[in-house]
């Protein structure tokens, strides 16, 4: 190939035959020892680059994959437990349950209906001992009851507890506790919330029971 001649753009010349190409490269990967035993910087360089990349890869995967969880969407999170909350807010659960069921009788204002449905706002039963109000919701309430000095005859509060005979709603202890906590902190009520454990304890202690009467509740200490 004459160095001075202008290259013809219409034809790139080959400088090596296919045989020679294959020969040369076969030699390069062959097992022949390198006679001149030159020290080559390249293998070290590539080794460093790849080691560095693999180190980065391992560290990054360890930290930013949240253990390959299928429900974590932010790679900064360390795992499911730190991201996904198991329990929803009790007050929200309580409010939703109240608005779905209790509101029909006890009304949105918690005032109930005079003579028919007892009020919850300011009621001594609601704000009193947890053991009594828990029983009311778990087992229901029948018969005459006196609330804030007024009398309510022939009450028929449904049964809400799970596993109780004739239970209309089968609410879990969590939900009952949530509703009670909500009611005890609504309107003018300012009583302490009730935990699911308290409800569960009473549920376990009393077991199955027919709907409570006023007398039953007053017997509870």
């Amino acid at each position: 190939m004459s160095a001075g001649a202008k290259r013809d753009p219409r034809l790139d010349q080959a400088a090596m035959s296919d045989e020679a190409l294959l020969d040369a490269h076969e030699r390069l990967v062959g097992a022949q020892p390198d006679e001149k035993a030159r020290y080559r910087l390249l293998p070290i360089g590539i080794l460093f680059v790849f080691s560095g990349l693999i180190l980065f890869a391992g560290t990054y995967l360890n930290r930013y994959t949240a253990h390959y969880s299928g429900v974590v969407y932010n790679e900064n999170s360390k795992g499911e437990s730190s991201q996904v909350e198991a329990k929803p807010d009790p007050l929200a659960v309580g409010r939703a349950a109240f608005n779905q069921v209790c509101i029909t009788c006890h009304q949105a204002t918690g005032q109930g209906l005079p003579g028919t449905y007892p009020p919850l706002d300011g009621s001594e039963w609601v704000n009193g001992a947890p053991e009594r109000v828990i029983r009311i919701v778990l087992y229901g309430l029948n018969g005459t009851v006196h609330v804030e000095g007024k009398q309510f005859n022939a009450t028929a509060m449904p049964t809400f507890g799970q596993g109780v005979t004739n239970s209309a709603y089968n609410w879990s202890d969590d939900r009952i506790a949530a509703v009670l906590s909500y009611v005890r902190q609504s309107w003018s009520n300012k009583s302490a919330p009730i935990t699911a454990d308290e409800v569960a304890a009473i549920h376990k202690q009393v077991g199955d029971h027919k709907p409570m009467t006023e007398a039953d509740l007053e017997a509870v200490k």
Partner: protein
Amino acid sequence: MKSNFAFFIGVFVAVLISWGMLMGANVQLGSLAPYFDETDGTTHPEWMPGIAAQGQLVYRDLGCAACHTQQVRRDGMGPDLARGWGDRQSVARDYIYQPAPQLGNNRIGPDLTNLGDRKPSAPDSDDLLNLLYSGADGMPSYRFLFETRRIGAGAQPSDKALSLVGALRPPQGYEIVPTLEAESLVGYLVNLRTTYTYPEARPYVVPKGQNPEVKPAAAAAAGGAK
């Protein structure tokens, strides 16, 4: 590597590795079930009504995903929440009942994930039909989704006729009526909403006591030295 068989197996195993990643993702995403809400006893997401499911196919066929995305990104990753495109980031569960999710990858036009739930007011069917007919800045008009037809002598204009103003109004005695494609498309768009906040969709906050930015001693020293 002289052996052809060894080479073939090598290539196959290499492709199998990324295929394995795909299968892992499939196990996680393919098994996503609807979420049952304890508080109000409902499951989310909800099925799209029939016309909306048809509308998604029209959306796909017209290629709307070329300009519109349907994925809300989390706070800090773009302007999505600030622009009112959603209350929270989109998660996989939002799409499990969609036959052909059209996530898109270029925001030439706005994101449409919660078009049916935009605040303060979501566009209604008429707004969207008018927009499709007239086009907007950067959005072509889709006149072929509509029919211009004559109102018969003594007949009333159709309920579905578009009410247009100015130069777009049809000539006297004619009305512009959406075709079934336009109606399904709009039916799909007004039903786009992903309002329920699943547990996994809640934003991630750095747990207390693990703030990587402020070192307590340094902060106290800075506060005290003032």
